[in-house]
């Protein structure tokens, strides 16, 4: 040991397979691990949604092999209503926690945030590794519930008490399955707390020279604001889950009120409040919507200028909008509870900030539209998903106008209108953000290009398909179609069944279109065309290094940043765009 280690390295490149690919401390490997986990979860969630749509369209349909997976949940391969609810609960839990939180935030954030600020790694690489593996354990615990007793819980991803808190007496799936759910989510919270702490510290402390906050790419801003939201939101959900676990296993009564009579049995609970769970859950749950979508705002605001070849209309305004949305997201949780039995006066108070959130959201949409104006848009697959993002976000945002008003929520609450709303504004917008990001950064992550033709096919089928699936759900909701129903036995719902079948068939197509994406991802990883360092002629720091970047991101170089993150369309014949690291002498305005 004669030569001392260079002081700039937090840790040397690992040699062993385990340190390199499994228990890696490298943020890039951890980011890919998160992405892989999200891929597995999204595939599971997609299959579950197919099963649900089969059942909703054709009640008596026998689904081959389903009886093998769960003999009680699908005797004779026909799904029972309880198993439908279990699949629905697992679909939502997988998608919201393990896809919409992990992919846009943990996966892309982990991979790109340190590079985009010019750091060699996250501030706490060991925490970072723990964050992923803790999340992985949470995923395994959740999936285990498919294989215990009565199967997965059926209380929905919101797990309202007392259905979730009184145990197996509440029905099939509410025994071990529901306990596993609560344990899984509690573990998940710990993983995300470690992750967001890391993101915040890295953003604030490890920026390279010249990378002022104002010069940070908007995608980094998105992950940064998200991590602040996540830190506070998961800090509320964690104790809520712990209390729920105690209610279920230690006989406490935090969420179960006194005098509950289930199946003629008076339960030995006293003094708990079912509404307390709702307050705690939605204090997390509403910000969670923004945890899913804010990285999308950031990604779109970074990807769109790169393909439009011009600056975003006002990046300061975009940052302001993201911060104010993050702030407001903590003041609106009560809009999920207008008809929950809380004081009706509070509905008026929660309604106003909810409506006010539409102002920054509208500003952002206008800024994106203004960016498209006069652009020279290069319509790659990534660009298509970016403009598609704007469209689905507009559609989803506008239905929020209805639900934010208590007087309309009395009619539309818990109908398919809500299902349409949150799928557009959260699920689809976030997914489109993930797709735009994937097509954009895949060359950087793997050093190979994704197939553009397949990417465009993927876009067109997905874009048209999701409108066929989710637009009609608005109509169902207006007709009073209640959500979370395993069958439509009510007289007034019978005429809506043909529309449900149309939705189901569209959903099969959209799902199938995702297989193109999976294939493209897999094929391009091994056989895609070699990617150059900067295939999109983009300006941020990740494009100043090799594809894929070396272990310490910049090969020992210490980058100095002289320019803003989106110097496109610079008024010069020789300089169409200016990298952030370009010499100071180059004038950009």
């Amino acid at each position: 040991m004669s030569s001392p280690e260079p002081a700039v390295h937090h840790h040397g490149p690992p040699q062993s397979f385990i340190r390199k690919y499994i228990f890696s401390l490298d943020h890039k490997v951890i980011g890919k691990q998160y992405y892989g986990l999200a891929l597995i979860a999204v595939l599971a969630g997609l299959i579950l949604s197919w099963l649900m749509r089969i059942h909703l369209g054709w009640q008596a349909a026998a689904i081959p092999l389903l009886g093998k997976l769960s003999p009680t949940g699908a005797p004779g391969n026909v799904m029972t209503p309880d198993y439908y609810l279990s699949l629905m609960t697992m679909h939502a839990t997988l998608m919201i926690f393990f896809v919409l939180t992990t992919a846009p935030f943990a996966a892309f954030g982990n991979y790109l945030l340190p590079i985009q600020v010019g750091a060699e790694d996250m501030a706490f690489p060991r925490f970072n590794m723990m964050s992923f593996w803790v999340t992985f354990v949470a995923f395994v615990v959740l999936i285990l519930s498919f294989f215990v007793g009565d199967g997965p819980p059926l209380a929905g991803w919101t797990s309202y008490a007392p259905l979730s808190s009184v145990g197996g007496v509440a029905g099939p799936g509410q025994g071990t399955g529901q306990t596993l759910w609560a344990v899984s989510i509690a573990i998940f919270c710990i993983g995300q707390l470690l992750g967001s702490l890391n993101f915040i510290t890295t953003t604030l402390d490890l920026r390279t020279k010249g990378m002022s906050l104002a010069r940070m790419p908007l995608s980094t801003w998105g992950w940064f604001v998200t991590s602040v939201i996540a830190l506070l939101a998961f800090a509320a959900l964690l104790p809520a889950c712990v209390l729920l676990i105690l209610d279920r296993t230690a006989g406490t009564s935090f969420f179960s009120s006194a005098g509950l009579v289930v199946n003629d049995q008076v339960l030995p609970h006293s003094g708990g409040s079912p509404l307390l769970w709702q307050h705690l859950f939605w204090f997390f749950g509403h910000p969670e919507v923004y945890i899913a979508i804010l990285p999308g705002f950031g990604i779109i605001s970074t990807v769109l200028p790169a393909f439009a070849r011009k600056r975003i209309l006002s990046s300061r305004a975009v940052i302001g909008c993201m911060v104010s949305i993050g702030f407001l997201s903590y003041m609106v949780w009560g809009h999920h509870m207008f008809v929950s039995g809380m004081n009706p006066f509070s509905a008026v108070l929660f309604s106003l900030p909810t409506l006010i959130i539409t102002i920054p959201a509208t500003i952002m949409v206008l800024l994106w539209l203004g960016t498209l104006y006069g652009a020279r848009m290069r319509y790659t697959a990534s660009a298509l998903f970016s403009v598609g993002f704007i469209s689905v976000f507009i559609t989803g945002g506008l239905s929020g106008f209805f639900l934010a008003q208590p007087s309309l929520d009395t009619y539309l609450h818990a109908t398919y209108f809500v299902v349409a709303h949150f799928h557009f504004v959260m699920a689809l917008a976030a997914m489109f953000g993930i797709f735009a990001g994937t097509y954009f950064w895949f060359p950087k992550m793997f050093g190979r290009m994704m197939n553009e033709t397949l990417g465009k096919w993927h876009f067109w089928l997905t874009f048209i398909g999701v409108y066929c699936v989710f637009m009609p759900m608005h109509y169902l909701g207006l007709a009073g179609n209640v959500r979370r129903y395993a069958a439509f036995t009510d007289n007034y719902l019978a005429p809506l069944i043909p529309l449900h079948r149309f939705i189901s068939i569209s959903a099969f197509f959209v799902g199938a279109a995702q297989l193109i994406f999976f294939f493209n991802l897999f094929w391009s990883r091994f056989w895609g065309a070699k990617a150059t360092d900067n295939p999109w002629e983009a300006t941020t720091l990740e494009w100043s290094t090799t594809s894929p970047p070396p272990f310490d991101n910049f090969g020992g170089r210490h980058l100095v940043v002289y320019h803003g993150p989106e110097e496109y369309g610079v008024d010069s014949d020789t300089l169409e765009y200016v990298m952030q690291t370009a010499p100071e002498q180059i004038k950009t305005t």
Partner: protein, 238 residues
């Protein structure tokens, strides 16, 4: 399957008391269960939630908690030997419980401990079977239309209330007994326990609202013993 079904009439003859005296070599206990007092009035069952069933049962059926017959007869009383018997192996032929037109058929199904129990559904919509035992393990399963029968058994003697979580009016009982000598009274309150070797027995009668009564009786080498029960009823069901 065929053999299984062929046994059903035999079982039926055993469980539902028949007045005819068979050529059994051993003794028989028979009798009548009646009530004193004013029985509660049974309410019509509102099946409007499941229109198929509401249409099928028009005028609506009455609930079956306390069913009376002519001359103060009390139906659906389980009469069985509760003591005095040699312990025997449970029969291997299964008993059958049906869900038909949103009702349980039969309303009360007696069986030996560990005797196979098969639960069928004949209705074109999903049922849920939720037995609520106190001493056996509780379970709760749904049966979509066309699902195979549920095969199960109960290990501990107990009167288990059965409900459907989807159709709340569906209400029945499994009478799990440590004997094969049992009967359920018919609409005239009659029952008969056949094939008993001579000896001293305790006969117990159980009614879902009015609990149990027991009497001791001695069965001779040939003859038939007679045991009657009288339940005191109240006009309030609750």
């Amino acid at each position: 399957m065929q053999a299984r079904y062929a046994l059903l009439p035999v079982l039926f003859a055993l469980t539902v008391a028949v007045a005819s005296v068979g050529p059994a070599p051993a003794g028989t206990i028979e009798g009548k269960v009646t009530y004193t007092g004013t029985p509660p009035k049974m309410k019509p069952i509102d099946m409007s939630k499941e229109p198929t069933c509401a249409k099928e049962h028009n005028p609506p059926l009455l609930s079956e908690n306390v069913v009376t017959g002519p001359a103060n007869a009390l139906q659906y009383v389980v009469v069985y030997i509760s003591a005095g018997e040699q312990s025997a192996q449970p029969p291997s032929e299964p008993v059958r419980f049906d869900q038909k037109g949103c009702m349980y058929v039969p309303h009360i199904l007696p069986m030996h401990t560990n005797q196979p129990l098969q639960i069928y559904t004949d209705d074109p919509f999903t049922h849920n079977i939720h037995p609520m035992p106190k001493r056996n393990p509780e379970w709760n399963k749904s049966q979509p239309p066309g699902a195979p029968p549920i095969d199960t058994k109960w290990g501990t003697p107990e009167f288990i209330e059965v409900k459907c979580n989807i159709h709340p009016w569906m209400h029945g009982y499994f009478a799990v007994l440590n004997t094969s000598h049992y009967a359920v009274t018919d609409n005239e309150g009659n029952y008969s326990l056949k094939g008993l070797p001579p000896g001293k027995y305790t006969v117990t009668a159980w009614q879902e609202q009015y609990s149990t009564q027991s009497q001791e009786v001695t069965v001779g080498a040939t003859g038939a013993a007679s045991v009657n029960f009288v339940f005191k009823v109240t006009p309030y069901l609750y």
